[in-house]
């Protein structure tokens, strides 16, 4: 696959070239210096799941490029009355130029892209992918490290339920990083190593963190646990990032979290606010990366 993707459904189908193109484009973007690239274009933000940062980030990104946005929530409108995704998509298609969709069911953006002729941007689907998050994570890492190639990136926590973990793993491995997953069996099944080439599972967090360049902490998605039993005290003891554990990683290792972060759960206050944490940079970079995504997918397309 060459050239610009028509839709952004996930990181898995992208080539490393396409990923690098997105990241290069993001470097030129700045929400404080609005552009007119997408003037007159309409972008629907179709959110079937609650989200603050992703929706706001896409909205600011779209407006910084001169596009207008229309936000549709699942709790509003015809969706609540039982309209199918297909019909909602067909209705929107006649009035907007692209759809950014967040959906609780994995594969929903894929379904939309199969039905519609306008570009679809996946803003997170179920447990599947969250490509814009992975791009902003990579962008943030690259502001501190020269390259992803050869980096040891450790993702800790609830990998099973995490679309961020899946998108990150695809992206990091495509760009040559070594990915290690760390978490308990119920949140990290053995199949996870087959997601992308070279993924390792290390169950012991101290061992996993040793020599890490990047530590990506994930939230325990209690709303998705559906019957899985985990003991939170035990979880904190085994998988919380605390100052002692940060020292096991490399001296200049980055501490990341895709948010929303539960302080005192995934990491302690000291670590979240510490010098190695880039959590807030991730948020700002999110807008830049999403500007690049929208500009790349919609720019020049009439």
């Amino acid at each position: 696959m060459n050239g610009k993707p028509r839709s952004l459904l996930g990181i898995e189908p992208l080539t490393s070239r396409q990923i690098i193109d997105f990241l290069s484009a993001a470097r030129k973007m700045d929400p404080k210096r609005p552009r007119t690239t997408l003037r007159g274009r309409r972008i629907a933000l179709l959110f079937y799941e609650n989200s603050t940062r992703t929706r706001v980030s896409f909205e600011v990104a779209a407006k910084s490029l001169g596009a207008s946005t229309v936000v549709m929530h699942a709790s509003s409108s015809s969706i609540e009355k039982g309209e199918s995704l297909k019909d909602t998509g067909l209705t929107l298609q006649s009035i907007v130029d692209a759809i950014v969709v967040r959906h609780p069911n994995s594969g929903a953006p894929t379904l939309l892209s199969r039905i519609l002729d306008i570009p679809i941007v996946n803003a997170g689907d179920g447990m599947h992918e969250h490509p814009s998050q992975a791009l902003l994570d990579a962008f943030t890492i690259l502001e501190h490290k020269k390259t992803l190639k050869g980096l040891k990136i450790v993702t800790v926590g609830d990998i099973y339920h995490s679309r961020v973990a899946r998108s990150d793993a695809h992206l990091f491995t495509k760009l040559g990083a070594h990915v290690t997953f760390c978490g308990p069996e119920v949140l990290l099944p053995e199949e996870a190593t087959q997601l992308a080439p070279g993924i390792r599972i290390v169950r012991d967090m101290d061992e996993a963190l040793t020599g890490a360049d990047v530590v990506m902490m994930l939230r325990v998605q209690q709303e998705r646990l559906s019957g899985l039993q985990i003991n939170l005290d035990e979880y904190i003891r085994r998988y919380q990032l605390n100052p002692r554990r940060v020292k096991l990683a490399k001296k200049n290792a980055l501490v990341m979290h895709p948010g929303p972060m539960i302080r005192g759960m995934e990491m302690t206050d000291e670590v979240a606010d510490g010098p190695q944490s880039v959590v807030l940079e991730q948020v700002l970079n999110g807008v830049k990366v999403r500007m690049a995504i929208l500009a790349s997918i919609l720019g020049g397309r009439r």
């Binding site: 069911n105 594969g107 179920g126 599947h128 992918e129 199949e191 019957g227």
Partner: protein, 426 residues
């Protein structure tokens, strides 16, 4: 007197141990005579079967005709028309209709000529009231009304004591209990097999043990009750191994394969293609290969379609929300002949056992599954080599939820004859 002579064909009738050229004379809906080529008297009508295989009518032990109650998916008339096109002269209709077929009244209603069935319909009645898994239905009354087996298909009979009671009651009546083996406590909101593909797609998965643990328990309960157990649509290699072992111990256990489980794997669900969403789910390549082996070595007794029609609006949705099931009546013969006979050299005798002799034996259909004199004149005429391409747009089913469109098969149904009447001709 109404007579039909099927002339020049090669008869494969495992029940009579015949696998050679034979003519068949049918009089008034029954087989009158089976004789060497050219030796029988002529009849009102003659079917030329030169170069073709003549087999006892094929029997599909597992179809969902959706009537009563879900006629937007299928009706008894359309489903049996598809069955005839697929070479089936009899189908056994699962009870998960609306309402559930748990009563003699519905069982009789389904067999009423008013329904317009093109082939024989043998209802399988619900094992528990409303298939709710709480209290047994009245097996004896259902049998008197024409039910040939009981099952809560679509769901398992989960409770140990209730399953034991179902088996014991069925044993007294001489009918099998057909189990949909799924421990639903392990499969909640899981639309596919638990494995590498489900992890990659971010979909919840059904573990293989959800099937085989129920198979294991059912075999144990069937042994205790001295009952006949039929395991529907088996999908895991572990489940298959349990059946093999039970048979070696001489238990009355039979098992069913469906084409999709020996043609596809969970990797077909990649890209969220809901045409490959069914229950049990498609498993791994190792499971698929084990099933093919089980078809060759005799562990699997029959091939059924598990024809499960759904409307487009029920399938063309998010993978999690799509209905489980695939249509298949029209491709069972093509898929079986292509993948077992042509590719794996399974003899036609074994193919006909899988599609006619054994299904008749399992649900005790007297005078079917054979063309011995006196048997019902249900006949399927096949060309075992003919190449054809399945045109899904021309299906006789009301639904098109199958991935077989455009697929190439070797081996085609040429004629389907029910009670001496030709109901389908290619």
């Amino acid at each position: 007197m109404n007579s039909l002579l099927i002339r020049g064909g090669h008869l494969v009738d495992p029940a009579q141990n015949i696998d050679e050229p034979r003519d068949i004379l049918i009089v008034d809906g029954r087989v009158a005579e089976v004789g060497a080529p050219g030796k029988l008297q002529s009849a009102d009508k003659v079917v030329n079967a030169l170069g073709l295989i003549v087999a006892p009518g094929l029997i599909d032990l597992h179809v969902h005709l959706r009537e009563p109650g879900q006629t937007h998916k299928e009706t008894i008339a359309t489903g049996t028309a598809a069955a005839a096109a697929g070479g089936f002269t009899s189908v056994c209709a699962m009870p998960n209709t609306k309402p559930v077929n748990d009563s003699p009244a519905i069982t009789r209603w389904m067999q009423d000529p008013e329904r317009g069935a093109v082939v024989n319909v043998f209802p399988i009645a619900a094992a528990t009231a409303g298939s709710a898994g709480e209290k047994l239905s009245d097996f004896a009354a259902l049998c008197r009304a024409g039910a040939v087996a009981v099952s809560d298909d679509g769901k398992p009979i989960l409770d140990d004591a209730l399953m034991h009671e179902a088996l014991a009651t069925a044993a007294r009546l001489g009918i099998p209990v057909i189990q949909h083996a799924e421990d639903t406590r392990l499969t909640a909101s899981a639309p596919m097999h638990l494995g590498v593909t489900s992890f990659r797609l971010g979909l919840r998965g059904q573990p293989a043990e959800a099937e085989w643990k129920i198979v294991e328990r059912d075999i144990r309960l069937a042994e205790m009750a001295g009952a006949q157990l039929h395991v529907a649509h088996i999908s895991t290699r572990e489940g298959l191994a349990l059946v093999r072992e039970a048979k070696q111990r001489g238990l009355k256990v039979s098992a069913e394969a469906c084409p999709h489980y020996f043609l596809f794997t969970d990797e077909n669900c990649a890209d969220y293609d809901t045409r490959y969403k069914m229950n049990p789910p498609l498993r791994t390549a190792a499971d698929r290969d084990a099933l093919l082996h089980g078809l060759v070595d005799g562990t699997l007794d029959i091939i059924a379609s598990d024809h499960a029609p759904h409307a487009k609006f029920e399938k063309f949705v998010e993978f999690d929300r799509a209905a489980f099931g695939i249509t298949g009546l029209e491709i069972v013969v093509g898929a079986t002949l292509t993948h077992l006979h042509r590719a794996r050299k399974v003899p036609l005798k074994r193919i006909i056992e899988l599609l006619s002799t054994n299904p008749a034996r399992i649900v005790h259909l007297e005078g079917r599954g054979t063309l011995a004199p006196g048997a019902h004149a249900d006949v399927t005429v096949l060309d075992p080599k003919k190449r054809w391409i399945y045109d899904l747009s021309k299906t006789l089913s009301k639904s098109r939820n199958a991935p077989y469109g455009g697929m190439e098969f070797y081996g085609k149904v040429m004629k389907t004859i029910v009670a001496g009447n030709i109901v389908f001709e290619a």
